[in-house]
């Protein structure tokens, strides 16, 4: 070992080590963008009326999920349709089954009982399923669909409702 260090030179060895470690840190140290199948945290706000108002239109499917309206804006029968939401980071996402989760259903039931349309924050874990491209969204039932280029498609689970 000593002769190896002497042959290479201690300073070169330190330099090589620093370069290698730096390369490693640059390649792996920063983490990576989430990919299909990853579970990621999502935070967004909803009001009870969103259940009826939020919708998207596209004939495409992502992981077997689709919008409640086809590409022409005509309704189709879907059990758990994708709905558009804007995250607290102001990012458009499409999520299925959000309103069917127990915690969110409980919140909706309480809100109906109180006739409240209060806004709450949801902090959820969601599985990233893919990306839907060239689709339409509307934020009020009956409104025309606004064209949108792309958004991540998620399946939500374990949402925590933060009421004020």
């Amino acid at each position: 070992m000593t002769s190896f260090v002497q042959r290479i030179g201690r300073d070169w060895l330190i330099t090589g080590g620093a370069l290698a470690l730096s390369a490693l840190l640059l390649a792996l140290g920063g983490g990576r963008a989430p990919s299909k199948g990853d579970r990621i945290p999502v935070a967004l706000t909803i009001i009870p009326a969103d259940e009826k108002n939020l919708g998207c239109s596209s004939s495409a499917e992502v992981a077997g999920l689709r919008c409640a309206f086809d590409g022409e804006g005509k309704p189709v029968a879907v059990t758990h349709p994708l709905r558009p939401f804007v995250t607290l980071g102001r990012e458009l996402v499409l999520i299925s089954n959000l309103f069917e989760l127990d915690s969110v259903e409980d919140f909706l039931a309480r809100a109906r009982k109180k006739r409240s349309n209060e806004r709450v924050t949801l902090r959820c874990q969601a599985e990233l399923l893919g990306t839907l491209r060239d689709f339409g969204v509307h934020w009020q039932a009956g409104d025309p669909f606004e064209k949108t280029k792309s958004a991540s498609v998620l399946r939500a689970s374990e949402c925590r409702v933060e009421e004020r």
Binding site: D11, T15, A18, S22, A23
Partner: protein, 457 residues
């Protein structure tokens, strides 16, 4: 300015061979571990400045204050910001040339940041008469996150950091008419960016007062410097007022100056969540998160936290050298000594520590250290002697000078393995912090791991 070589050299590089080197070797370009590490830092640091510069396309931190008013200049509307016009005029020029988008807003900062690397190298080369110091200074400036952050955002403090380096570089040249004119141009420009730019006078005046063998009149040179700076400042202010469609006489510029000064003098509440007292900059306690964009599962962050492997040694060295200057006195610090002279028997406290020879450094480079420390103290002074709200970015023009000083000190160290190990550490810290200095797509956990003190987030 850099070509002027008529100053007497302070001392040869202690670690450098005594034979005169030729060709590439003159510039320290012999393949060595030190050169490889410096080159790696420079390459990575430059890339981190350029990478995804236009992201995000929305405003970062305080960019709106400056970009909105750069737009105002272009549309003939008044500047509503509370700083003089030059910084915003530079942004307006970029927007006029390239269009109104985030890359154009930030391009002047990037160019200043890149220029600062070269000027730091040149200044160190002249201050410490050592190509090794030049390489190390350029590498340190390139590898620091505080400077990377301000090269990536349309903010004014990176411009001032360049001005402080230029002032130190100019102070290494012999006082002459050119010195006075260039110094005045520089000081007037720095003042036209922020009032705290007045600090560039400190190294410029030290350069005049301490110049060896200078036969001219020091008082008239200093007055010439001041006069030129006032003319440049008023000229730039009048230009700004004229573009803004306001009365643009020198009297109007003076009235605006008075109005802004009164406004700043009243900002003393220290209530903003980001304010930090100048003493706390040594840690620092409140680096600013210049940008933080959260997307699905990812975070892209830009912090102004510096390279900790440089920050703490840089601050510590400055404090020790200030103490040594106070202990020895200015005259003794400026007295020419042979660098190889044996240290005095009664060298006093902190003459050396762990083999680091502070006293010997000041003996060899007393004037250089005074110029650099003077500039650094000059930029901190407004916040130390007043109660004006202060923020970590006010430290940037001082900090960049501390890096040059640290480079001069490190370059003089004879234990090459120690120097190489230190540079290796700086490079590794640079690579580790790269994600939060260049808006990499990363995770909140990775950001928190790097900004390990909660007050840094």
């Amino acid at each position: 300015m850099a070509a002027e070589t008529d100053d007497e050299p302070d001392a040869p590089d202690r670690a450098a061979p005594t034979v005169r080197r030729r060709g590439a070797a003159r510039f320290g370009l012999e393949l060595s571990p030190l050169l490889v590490l410096c080159a790696a830092m420079c390459a990575l640091g430059v890339w981190l400045r350029i990478h995804a510069l236009a992201f995000p396309s929305e405003f970062l931190f305080d960019e709106h204050h400056f970009v909105e008013n750069a737009r105002n200049y272009l549309s003939g509307k008044p500047d509503l910001n509370d700083h003089p016009p030059l910084g915003k005029l530079l942004q307006a020029l970029s927007i006029a040339a390239l269009g109104d988008h985030s890359f154009a807003w930030r391009l002047p900062s990037l160019l200043c940041g890149l220029a600062a690397i070269a000027i730091a190298g040149l200044a160190a080369r002249r201050l410490f008469e050592s190509p090794r110091a030049a390489w190390i200074a350029a590498a340190f400036v390139t590898a620091d996150g505080f400077l990377i952050g301000y090269s990536r955002a349309a903010l004014l403090d990176g411009y001032l950091a360049l001005c402080s380096l230029l002032a130190v570089l100019l102070a290494t040249t012999r006082p002459s008419l050119r010195y006075v004119l260039l110094g005045g141009l520089l000081a007037g420009s720095a003042l036209s960016i922020k009032f705290s730019g007045v600090a560039v006078f400190v190294p410029l005046v030290i350069g005049i007062v301490t110049a060896r063998g200078f036969q001219g009149r020091r008082e008239s040179s200093a007055l010439g410097l001041l006069g030129t700076a006032v003319v440049v400042y008023l000229g730039l202010y009048c230009l700004g007022l004229s573009l803004a469609g306001q009365p643009s006489s020198p009297v109007a510029a003076l009235n605006e100056t008075k109005r802004l000064y009164t406004h700043h003098a009243a900002l003393t509440e220290m209530k903003n969540a980001l304010v930090s007292g100048w003493v706390s900059w040594a840690l620092p306690t409140k680096p600013i998160m210049i940008g933080y964009v959260e997307r699905l599962g990812t975070v892209r962050a830009l912090t102004s936290l510096g390279n900790l492997a440089l920050w703490w040694p840089g601050v510590a060295l400055a404090l020790v050298l200030c103490w040594r200057v106070l202990y020895r006195g200015l005259r003794a610090t400026l007295r020419e000594r042979k660098p190889e002279a044996a240290p005095a028997a009664n060298a006093g406290p902190l003459a050396s520590f762990a083999g680091l020879d502070f006293s010997g450094f000041l003996e060899a480079h007393g004037r250089a250290a005074l110029i650099v420390l003077g500039g650094a103290i000059g930029f901190v002074a407004p916040w130390a002697i007043s109660h004006r709200d202060s923020y970590i970015y006010h430290f940037l023009p001082s900090y960049v000078l501390l890096l040059v000083l640290l480079a001069g000190f490190v370059a003089r160290e004879a234990r090459n393995t120690l120097v190489v190990s230190f540079l290796a550490l700086v490079l590794v810290v640079l690579a580790f912090y790269a994600p939060v200095w260049s808006m990499f797509e990363t995770s909140a956990r990775a950001v928190n791991l790097r900004l390990f003190l909660p007050v840094w987030r």
